[in-house]
């Protein structure tokens, strides 16, 4: 039974501290946006959670390729870990976006490219979880999971482009802005600082959770082996 690594404990504390600082920055340091007011503050964590979601799906696709090449079960554990975390974060991003959209776009939901793509991404990875649940053989489950996570990740850009060809109203805050976007704004320096700090915080949070989930996955394998030994 391996004990919890010390560095992981330290990372837990660092993540907690960073998170408190990020919340404080959002509420006390970042200035109030002129037209949208308080609700704009959702933006900092909305983008950060969406970023963590995409990061996890990318990680899952990369370890999926590695699994198919190396056939090592640690990559499978990493894949399921990344996707589980990202599913939750992506869902939080969608909920936060809805909270923001209600006063700004005057609707909870609109069939905009980004929103639609986000939903389809959630559905792809929900399907991934269902696929894994339906297969008992661990080796086959790992292989199918890897193939599906790669397929899913590759289809996302095409989905986005094809929905994008229809008109969009989602604001693009970082990079070029579409003049047709509603609820767009330009960031002042304190806003930028808060924004990038939130991104950083959530990235650390992802690493921390990922590490915990990896440990859990490895322990689950150990438990499974022990159970086999007992029943044999």
């Amino acid at each position: 039974m391996q004990s919890k690594p010390r560095f992981l404990t330290i990372l837990d504390s660092v993540t907690a501290i960073l998170f408190v600082i990020a919340v404080a920055m959002v509420f006390f340091y970042a200035p109030l946006e002129r037209t949208m007011g308080q609700v704009q503050k959702v933006f900092y964590f909305h983008v950060a959670t969406a970023w963590v979601g995409m990061l996890g799906f990318l990680v899952a696709a990369v370890v999926g390729i590695l699994y198919l090449l190396k056939n090592d079960c640690k990559y499978d554990i990493a894949g399921i870990a990344a996707i589980e975390i990202s599913l939750v974060f992506f869902f939080i991003a969608i909920i936060m976006g809805s909270i923001w959209a209600r006063p700004v776009w005057n609707t909870w939901w609109t069939w905009d490219p980004r929103l639609t793509t986000a939903t389809i991404v959630e559905l792809i990875y929900a399907a991934y979880m269902m696929l894994r649940q339906g297969i008992e053989d661990p080796d086959r489950r790992a292989r199918f999971g890897a193939v599906y996570s790669i397929l899913g990740f590759l289809s996302v850009p095409l989905t986005f482009i094809s929905i994008r060809l229809l008109r969009t109203i989602h604001p693009v805050v970082v990079g070029d802005s579409d003049p047709g976007a509603e609820g767009s704004f330009s960031m002042t320096d304190p806003m930028k600082a808060t924004f990038f700090f939130s991104l950083f915080t959530f990235s650390v949070l992802f690493v921390d959770l990922f590490w915990h989930r990896l440990r859990m996955g490895k322990l689950a394998v150990v438990v499974e082996e022990l159970r086999m030994k007992v029943s044999a």
Binding site: A127, M130, L158, S162
Partner: protein
């Protein structure tokens, strides 16, 4: 030099190059599917009746009067093809799995990708047959001419993309415990680009839009087809490995 020539000429008339072997294996799989289907006619009958039922239900659900028809025909057609296609994909792989045919196929000393392409071409042919029958029926029932070269091109490209991904995923789905319900759940989120592009392009051709407006959608279809055929080609080995 001379002897080399003789050697080359002495080879049997039937070509034994790897490529020819590949195509022969591919064709054997297609032929097996077609002749099995010709004898039982289970799959095509089910797909066809199902497709016609879907169109019938749409008639009531959407009140397909003359005005609504012009805008929703493309959508109705593609939903019908997608649903009937899922039925066919599921069935075609399930019969392989149930009677141990898949293991037999895998034991054959041919490239695995030949088996994939064989199954894919078979599924594609079944889908085409359904489409070839649904189109005139829809044309007659709703008094709209669907036989336009542009629309047929979109149906060709869309079906290829759909079947390329569908064959790979149905091979995965039949090996799972929840197989019948799993295929649509795995397949539909991945074929969203095909559905959007195909519906938009079909709608464009039906409303006689300019080529420039349909072009982008056709490009997406072509890109999707190429990418996903290549991916399925690369990954099929991992999906059937024991």
């Amino acid at each position: 030099m001379k002897r080399n020539d003789v050697k080359r000429n002495s080879q049997p008339a039937t070509p034994n190059s790897p490529l020819a072997n590949f195509f022969r294996a591919l064709w054997a799989v297609v032929w097996k599917d077609l002749s099995a289907e010709w004898r039982s006619r289970e799959l095509l009958t089910a797909m066809l009746v199902f497709a016609l039922l879907v169109i019938l239900i749409f008639n009531f659900a959407l009140e397909l009067d003359a005005r609504a028809r012009a805008s929703v025909t493309a959508g109705v057609l593609w939903v019908t093809f997608a649903f009937a296609g899922t039925l066919g994909l599921n069935r075609s792989m399930a019969t392989e799995k149930d009677r141990g045919c898949l293991d037999g196929l895998l034991l054959a000393p041919v490239d695995r990708s030949a088996i994939y392409f064989g199954k894919a071409v078979g599924n594609l042919i079944f889908m085409f047959v359904v489409e070839v029958i649904v189109l005139p029926v829809y044309s007659v029932l709703y008094n709209i001419n669907l036989f336009r070269p542009g629309l047929l091109l979109v149906i060709l490209l869309g079906s290829i993309g759909y079947v390329a991904v569908g064959t790979l995923l149905s091979t995965m789905a039949v090996q799972a415990r929840t197989r019948d319900i799993l295929l649509p759940i795995l397949l539909f989120p991945l074929v969203v680009p095909v559905m959007i592009a195909a519906v938009k392009a079909s709608g464009g051709f039906l409303q006689n839009l300019a080529w420039a407006e349909v072009n982008a959608w056709l490009n997406i279809l072509v890109v999707y087809d190429i990418i996903f055929i290549a991916i399925a080609f690369m990954f099929f080995d991992y999906v059937v490995e024991e």
